[in-house]
């Protein structure tokens, strides 16, 4: 049985500090302690004037991921015989809309409890074009726009989901890197997909991995917002984060390594934001304890990307 340790932190970016804006990223995981089942979610609120409540949008995104996961867990534990093909089908076809409904419900509830003030309306009118105001009036979810990346880990399968920018990097037990989703060439110059789209379900990327053998499980899963990867000179410099953290676990006792990372992650992200992108930076790690109980000599092989 695999045992997973979550670690994570979100650092407000220097550019937001300079403008006295809050952190637009969010991270959440469940359960909080080491476990054989786990969800970790990371989200990045868009932060533009038009997306004036995206700080809430990212928070709702990660909490919705927890809710969806909890519901899946209840359904799975009810069933004695789990058919992975059916689960795969349900996840790939129903999960996006299911998730979006959770997220929209939270947005609608918040909006009802916190309607826009006249001063806020006046400010938006002064800052946005007529086209932008019209699009907000037609789709109020735009104000809460956010990305989402999540890893759902169960004993018999792992699912990664993503909408918008950000990164998931896995390090396998042999030290090789595996990237579940190819980078999207549309996501340059700050462009991204969003939970706020009217057809957001079409923009979800989902990867389902049935687990027949514990050795097929990643040793480490790293989720991060684009503020982190944008802080590095190259993609390889960014991916090296995952293999360096892998080496931290390789060199020491597992619990000691967890402690070391927890003590230093805030400073790592602070340094990345201040010397790099200036953006909010969020990093989530899910580490499999059994992968680090052996200590062979590790040779890092080529990066593989999912087909």
């Amino acid at each position: 049985m695999a045992t997973w340790q979550p670690i994570g932190y979100s650092q407000r970016g220097n550019s937001h500090k300079r403008k006295s804006l809050p952190n637009q990223d969010a991270i959440e995981w469940y359960p909080w302690l080491r476990s054989d089942v786990l969800v970790m979610a990371v989200a990045d609120g868009h932060g533009s004037t038009k997306c004036y409540r995206s700080q809430k949008g990212s928070l709702f995104a990660v909490t919705s991921a927890i809710s969806v996961f909890s519901e899946m867990l209840i359904n799975l534990t009810k069933s004695d015989d789990i058919n992975l093909s059916i689960i795969k089908h349900l996840i790939e076809n129903d999960l996006p809309n299911h998730f979006i409904r959770y997220w929209q419900d939270q947005v609608d509830y918040f909006e009802k409890q916190n309607p826009m003030l006249p001063a806020e309306k006046a400010y938006l009118k002064s800052q946005l074009s007529n086209t932008q105001i019209e699009s907000l009036e037609k789709n109020h979810y735009i104000a809460y726009g956010s990305t989402l990346i999540a890893a759902f880990i169960f004993p018999r399968f792992v699912t990664f989901i993503q909408i918008g920018d950000g990164d998931i990097v896995c390090v396998m037990e042999d030290g090789s890197i595996f990237i579940p989703f190819e980078s999207d060439e549309r996501f340059i110059a700050g462009e991204t997909d969003s939970l706020s789209y009217k057809d957001a379900d079409k923009y979800f990327k989902i990867k389902f991995f049935p687990l027949n053998n514990i050795n097929n499980l990643p040793a480490l899963v790293m989720l991060s917002t684009d503020g982190y990867s944008n802080s590095f000179t190259s993609i390889k410099d960014f991916q090296k984060v995952s293999t360096d953290i892998y080496q931290i676990f390789r060199k020491g006792d597992f619990d000691q390594s967890v402690k070391e990372i927890e003590e230093n992650i805030e400073n790592w992200l602070l340094e990345a934001s201040s010397k790099g992108s200036g953006d909010d930076v969020t990093l989530g790690l899910v580490c499999r304890q059994e992968a680090f109980s052996k200590r062979p000599v590790i040779i890092l092989s080529e990066t593989k990307t999912a087909e």
Binding site: T147, I188, A189, S229, K236
Partner: protein, 234 residues
């Protein structure tokens, strides 16, 4: 416990700022080219200050010129703190299309990085293109960075082709800026070199606004455009 940051080299994000300048024969009339040289030179300290306001953006400046064909006037992306302007001198034709084709080559990956801030492209002209403008523009907009670039244009004088400049901008919410005298040109060049630069250097994430293809950076309101007035030079 030793604290060695994981990962490779950190770096700020490059922001390419490119002036695309008309130095055709008509720019030699009524002091236009001299005014352009002065306006860009005077804008540099303000650009440097604007860049200082966001230390996480590495502003790299260069310039393309077009007349008979097009050439790089300042070809190397130059850190804004080291950027010096070399005067342009008026020549003959207005091969704007060629300039955009050359720009398109520079907007490909490589030499552009995979990750960075949206480039700022500033087209400045007083006339009409004398070559195939649409070909050059299509090549530019066919590149991801060309498409995502912040494109602004300055029309010098009443003979500048506003329709062409609007096509280059490719955003119905942004109009070409107008300069009918040297003071207005200074004002417009300073605005693009500071306010547009600031907007591009700190862009929030933008969902793809399908109604507006050039919406990834929100441009602040431009200085008020004024049409040609009696007494104006151009």
């Amino acid at each position: 416990m030793e604290n060695v940051r994981p990962g490779g080299e950190l770096s700020t994000r490059p922001l390419h700022f490119i002036f695309i300048c008309d130095y055709s024969g008509s720019m030699g009339v009524d002091g236009k080219i001299e005014a352009l040289n002065t306006a860009i030179r005077e804008a540099i300290p303000h650009m440097q200050k604007a860049a200082d306001d966001n230390p996480n953006a590495q502003v790299l400046v260069r310039a393309l010129k077009f007349s008979n064909g097009a050439q790089w006037h300042i070809s190397s992306p130059t850190p804004v703190d080291n950027f010096l302007w070399a005067d342009l001198h008026a020549d003959a034709q207005t091969d704007m299309g060629k300039a955009l084709s050359m720009l398109a080559d520079q907007m490909k990956i490589p030499p552009m990085p995979e990750r960075g801030l949206p480039p700022v492209l500033v087209l400045i002209s007083d006339g009409q293109p004398t070559d195939d403008f649409n070909k050059g523009l299509n090549e530019l907009l066919a590149t991801n960075w060309g498409k995502k670039a912040v494109r602004v244009a300055i029309a010098i004088g009443k003979d500048a082709d506003r329709d062409i400049l609007q096509k280059f901008i490719n955003n119905p919410e942004i109009k070409p800026l107008e300069a009918h005298n040297p003071e207005a040109l200074v004002k417009m060049i300073r605005w693009v070199s500071t306010e547009v630069l600031k907007a591009a250097s700190q862009p929030p994430s933008q969902p793809d606004d399908k109604s507006n293809k050039n919406a990834n950076v929100v441009i602040p309101s431009a200085p008020t455009n004024s049409s040609f007035q009696p007494g104006d030079t151009w």
